[in-house]
Amino acid sequence: MFDKFSFSNIWENDGIFISVVGYLIVFVALLFLSIIITNFQKILVSKQRKKLKTVGHRAAEAENLEISGEVSAAISVAFYLHFQENHDVENTVLTIRKVQRAYSPWSSKIYGLREYPKR
């Protein structure tokens, strides 16, 4: 299995050159992508700051315009409560709707637990 083993195989096939250059290219590609994304974020923030400045909002001067995860969560909860749990305008008509119940001995009061079970 190891009869062909020789370090010279690496040298003869440009193994070191391909490995070093290949690894560097992977690094460069991802480094470039990382730099572009970082700068893209900066451009977006500066555009946002410009917009706030034109409106005259005081947040334009804030050092950090970023909204933290906690703040986002709090805003989301507030929206949820506002739209989903709106008790102030609850429809009270529902509470006086007459419920039709067909008679059945299974649901009858007469046979309910008010009577002691017969032995």
Partner: protein, 381 residues
């Protein structure tokens, strides 16, 4: 009487060899690991069962057209997608449609961890060369260190189709064994103090950033490494379908039915390709050993690079070096392993989001590495 004799000579019992028994046992182990231990069941069940299908002994080349390597057989048609590298880009489309790159966008420097972990590919490439494999075979073996099954299949189908079965099985086996292989290496290379580091929560990412990422990512990475176009093109396309918000149906199809169908076909045929008569060779065993070494080096490379980055990062910007191990692209298993290790050390330390960043960067990194190797070696051919 002659008919009965022929029938008997055609049965599995008459054609059984030790190789078949060994492969059937391996298939059963895969199925056991998937069902009992729940190691990557979506991959190991199809592959394990495929190994059983591929190793039912039969008489080859008598016109029955049942073997995966026999022209015209059903399995051979299904295997076409593996041989020609059709399935891997489709899998990448689904992965793209499922992946949330927010963690990476919110902390782009973590992308370097995804690059660092690719050291396993290139060191194993050199080791395989030293062991006497041809340069194309060595590159295909090295890519196992990327811990990315589809990428490994894609590259080996282009550079060393003769080793495809062994490489695919090795790559998927090690992906499934992430929870076994990575923790000891991570623990060996990090101190308790380092494992306890809490990273600051990732910041919120805007929709515009999320939508721009696949476009910028595609243009940049494929201009540098055009060989990775089929993989990265599909990965970023799938992600744009998801993030654009206007193609929900397409994104859902790519992320659910399509990737499931392709996974079934890929898993089953890759498993069946391990037919004992062509698979059980000393070379295959060597590929398994090299694959394991490659995976370990990749894990160590990511962890050590995270420690190196910490030399330049201060205060709450410091990284928990364990997340470097997620730079191998076994998504999301290695991120999950890192998270679980963090939880063992401190149950209030949530590393999953942080580990997902190098994890998805690893997918991009290994595909870029595959493209680079293709770029180098297709010239040599």
């Amino acid at each position: 009487m002659e008919g009965i004799n022929q029938f008997i000579s055609f049965t599995g019992f008459a054609n059984l060899t030790i190789g078949h028994i060994v492969m059937i046992v391996i298939g059963l182990i895969f199925i056991y690991l998937a069902i009992k231990k729940e190691y990557e069941p979506l991959l190991l069940v199809p592959i394990g069962f495929g190994i059983l299908v591929g190793n039912i002994p039969f008489v080859e080349n008598v016109g029955m057209q049942i073997g995966i390597y026999e022209q015209g057989s059903v399995l051979n048609y299904l295997y076409f997608g593996v041989m020609k590298g059709i399935y891997p880009p489709l899998i990448f489309l689904g992965i793209g449609a499922m992946t949330d790159f927010s963690a990476l966008i919110s902390n782009p420097k973590l992308m370097l961890l995804g690059a660092a972990a690719q050291v396993g590919i290139f060191l194993t490439f050199m080791a395989a060369l030293a062991l006497g494999f041809t340069i194309n075979q060595a590159a295909a073996i090295g890519i196992i260190g990327g811990a990315d099954g589809p990428t490994a299949i894609f590259l080996s189908s282009k550079l060393a189709p003769e080793l495809l079965g062994a490489i695919a099985i090795a790559a998927y086996s090690y992906m499934a064994l992430v929870p076994v292989i990575q923790p000891p290496i991570i623990k060996l290379l990090t101190s308790k103090k380092e494992r306890l580091i809490k990273m600051k929560p990732p910041k919120a990412v805007t929709k515009l950033e999320k939508m721009s990422f696949p476009i910028v990512g595609l243009l940049l990475t494929t201009f540098i490494s055009p060989g990775a176009l089929p993989l990265l093109g599909m990965l970023f396309f799938g992600n744009l379908l998801k993030e654009s918000g206007v193609t929900k149906r397409l994104a859902d199809t790519a992320a659910k039915p399509l990737i499931d169908i392709v996974t079934i076909l890929l898993g089953l045929t890759v498993g069946a390709s391990t037919q004992a008569t062509t698979f059980l060779t000393p070379e295959s065993i060597l590929i398994f050993v090299l694959g394991a070494i490659s995976f370990m080096i990749a894990t160590a490379g990511g962890v050590l690079f995270a420690k190196f980055m910490n030399l330049f990062l201060k205060g709450d910007n410091q990284l928990n070096p364990m997340i470097g191990a997620a730079g191998v692209s076994a998504v999301p298993d290695s991120a999950r392993v890192v998270h679980n290790l963090g939880q063992i050390e401190d149950p209030t330390n949530y590393l999953l989001m942080h580990a997902m960043a190098p994890n998805v960067a690893g997918v991009i990194g290994s595909a870029v590495a595959a493209g680079i190797l293709m770029g180098f070696l297709l010239k040599v051919i």
